[in-house]
Subunit: 151 residues, 2 copies
C-alpha cells in the first residue's frame, strides 16, 4: 500500500541508481578534498586545462569545452573567466566568426596540470582504484559509456 514498489527488477534499478549517485558524489568529494589539502585548485580546472592541452595549437572554443565537459554554457563562461584571471589560459577572438573565441592553455596552465597530476592520480588510486578489482574497473568503464555521448 505504499507508493514505492520495494521488490522486483524495477526496485533493483532504483537501488542501483541511488548507489551510483551516492557513491560517485562521495568519491568526488574525497578526491576534491585531497586536491584542496595539497593547496591545488578544483578538479574542474584540471579537466578544462586537460582539454585545452589536448586541443594543442588549434585551441578550443568555449562551446567545444562545453560539449566535451558536459557543462552548462554559463558555467563554461565563468570557468573560463577564472582560468584566464589565474593566468592558465589565453583567449583570442576568431576572425572567421565574430561571435566566437579560441582558448589556449598557457605555460602556467601546463605547469598546473603537471603539479596537479600526481595528487590527482594518487587520489584516484587510493579512493577509486584500490577498493576494486581490475575486472570491476573494466566493467565500470564499459558500462558508463552508455551514458556518454559519442562512445
Amino acid at each position: 500500500m505504499t507508493d514505492i514498489d520495494r521488490s522486483g527488477p524495477e526496485d533493483e534499478a532504483v537501488t542501483a541508481w541511488a548507489r551510483l549517485i551516492r557513491a560517485s558524489q562521495h568519491l568526488l568529494e574525497k578526491v576534491e578534498a585531497d586536491l584542496k589539502a595539497a593547496g591545488l585548485p578544483p578538479l574542474i580546472w584540471y579537466d578544462a586545462l586537460l582539454e585545452l592541452r589536448r586541443a594543442g595549437r588549434a585551441g578550443l572554443r568555449p562551446v567545444d569545452l562545453q560539449h566535451r565537459m558536459l557543462l552548462a554554457q554559463y558555467n563554461v563562461s565563468r570557468l573560463v573567466d577564472r582560468l584566464e584571471a589565474a593566468g592558465y589560459l589565453q583567449r583570442e577572438r576568431l576572425k572567421s566568426d565574430g561571435r566566437a573565441q579560441v582558448l589556449f592553455i598557457t605555460t602556467d596552465g601546463r605547469k598546473l596540470l603537471k603539479a596537479m597530476w600526481p595528487v590527482y592520480r594518487s587520489a584516484i588510486d587510493q579512493h577509486f582504484t584500490a577498493p576494486l578489482s581490475g575486472k570491476k574497473i573494466r566493467q565500470i568503464s564499459k558500462i558508463m559509456t552508455a551514458f556518454l555521448p559519442a562512445g
Copy 2:
C-alpha cells in the same frame, strides 16, 4: 614524454574514473531537469524526506541525516531549514540532549514524496535503466557498494 601515462592498467583505471564521474553527473542533471520541468523541488529534498519517512515515528536527528545522505553538516543544517520553511518537516528539541533535535516528516512532506515519485521513477527508467541490461544494472549496484559506508 608527457606526464600522463597513456597505456596500461593504471590508465584504464583513470579512464574508468573519468567516465564514472562524467556519466553520473550527466545522469543526475537529466533527472534533476525532469523534476524541475514538472515543477518539483530538487532530488535532495526527495532523499531527505525519504529518510525521514523511513525513520517513522522515531524521527531522525540532523546528524543522522548527515550520515545517511553523506552530506556536510552545514549543508544538512541549511537543507533542513528549507524543508521546514516549506512545511515538509517539523523539528522538535530533544529533552534527553539539549544540543539535539529530532526531525519528522509532515503530511505535506508525505504528499510531496508521492507527487515526486512518478516523475523521479520515470526519469530513472528513462535515463538510467533503459540504456542498460539487467545484468549491467546488477553489476553497478554491486560495485558501488565498495564506496559506500556499511555496505
